[in-house]
């Protein structure tokens, strides 16, 4: 038997055929479709077309292959770079990428006129990077400050803090990063000029730093 395929009920059932073939219909709808298929020869014929489409789609997608080896390693490296230290480096690196992209967009003629200015910008940026990496963030563990290890302040920065934010913050409080990041993204910092010999003075400084909630998520004196 073939039912009238212009009825809303029949059209509704036919619209569900792709999901019925994929097995993603709710039980109630699946039962409706099965009942209609059992009675309607033309609907069954069209269902066979749907199943052909499904098989071809699966085969087409399976033939697409997979991402190349090393994709996970690259992802995890990017995730590592999401740590506060990594993010600081990434932000400065991003500045270099942005600069390169801007230069790349220039026409050859514009580039000729701009090359002098661009060179100056790159030199300034290189100087900034060198300054940051040597005096602010010496990951080798070499201590750039001459103060003793005591009197350090552990600071965790909020994930959204940029390198520029952190640099400005360090300048404001005359802090130098001496170690980090430790697990949990904690950086050990030391005041450069503040009188830190007395613990009270250090506690006061930490309380001020703790107020900087836009940049700092955690701050405490190293015991």
């Amino acid at each position: 038997m073939t039912t009238n395929d212009q009825t809303p009920e029949r059209q509704d059932i036919e619209a569900l055929l792709p999901w019925h073939a994929a097995g993603t219909l709710a039980d109630r709808d699946a039962q409706r479709v099965d009942a209609a298929l059992a009675q309607d020869r033309e609907l069954s014929r069209r269902y066979a077309l749907v199943r052909e489409e499904l098989a071809a789609t699966v085969r087409l997608n399976d033939a697409l292959g997979a991402p190349p080896a090393g994709a996970m390693e690259r992802l995890m490296a990017r995730i590592e770079a999401e740590s506060p230290a990594g993010r600081s480096r990434q932000t400065l690196g991003g500045l270099a990428d942005w600069l390169a992209a801007q230069i790349g967009r220039l026409s050859p003629r514009a580039l000729t006129f701009s090359v002098g200015a661009a060179a100056v910008v790159i030199l300034v940026q290189a100087a900034l990077l060198a300054t940051f990496s040597v005096s602010r963030y010496d990951s080798s563990g070499f201590q750039t400050a001459s103060m003793p290890r005591s009197g350090e302040i552990g600071i965790g920065f909020v994930p959204a803090a940029s390198a520029a934010d952190i640099t400005k913050f360090l300048d404001t409080y005359h802090l130098t990063i001496v170690e980090g990041p430790r697990p949990g993204g904690l950086f050990m910092t030391r005041p450069e000029t503040a009188p830190v010999s007395e613990k009270d003075g250090l506690d006061q400084l930490v309380r001020r730093i703790q107020q900087e909630s836009r940049i700092v998520r955690f701050a405490a004196v190293e015991q």
Partner: protein, 186 residues
């Protein structure tokens, strides 16, 4: 063997568990890659976008509310990334792609059918659909998404999902007919 659910993995990822991130990536990267590749048609772009998708998962895992399945959430992120990448393409690149998908004028539809079996022609026609139609066909047939899930991923109403699927299939039949295969539908 009991495996950790995707939702549990995402909870652990939100807490900064990198191992959970690796498990989720291993579990879903191939499907996400294929979904994106079918949209952007460029392997290197697809590879890059898969990395972007999972990096977003790492950053936004805390916002996942389990209203949808993890795979639906992943495909929604992937779709957004793929469409953004497509918008960045220049008109020239799109023209080149269009030219590459045109049928060889040397072959009539009948000759094409003789050269290939029906399955091959069907796959070729599936490839020739617009991104919008490819997307919905893949989501329903390959990614096994329900009407409701497709609506969530694509950001359209459930009735529109059914209508779009109908027109995608109708277009597929038209392409098959042009290639010499009349399915008698619609």
């Amino acid at each position: 063997m009991q495996t950790t659910s995707d939702e549990a993995l995402i909870e652990r990822i939100a807490a900064g568990d990198k191992l959970a991130m690796q498990v989720l990536f291993a579990r879903h990267q191939v499907r996400v890659y294929r979904f994106v590749l079918r949209l952007v048609r460029d392997q290197s772009v697809a590879e890059e976008l898969v990395g972007e998708v999972f990096l977003d998962v790492w950053r936004q895992a805390g916002r996942f509310e389990a209203r949808s399945t993890a795979s639906t959430w992943l495909l929604a992120i992937a779709r957004y990334k793929a469409l953004s990448a497509l918008r960045r393409r220049t008109d020239q690149e799109l023209d080149d792609e269009k030219a590459a998908t045109l049928e060889d004028p040397g072959d009539s539809p009948e000759v094409s059918v003789l050269k290939k079996n029906k399955g091959e022609v069907l796959r070729q026609c599936l490839t020739a659909l617009t991104p919008e139609h490819r997307e919905i066909i893949d989501l329903v047939y390959y990614h096994e998404k329900s009407v409701e899930e497709v609506a969530q991923i694509v950001g359209i109403g459930e009735n529109t999902v059914k209508t779009r699927m109908f027109y995608a299939r109708k277009r597929l039949s038209e392409l098959l007919k042009a290639a010499g295969i009349d399915r008698g539908w619609p």
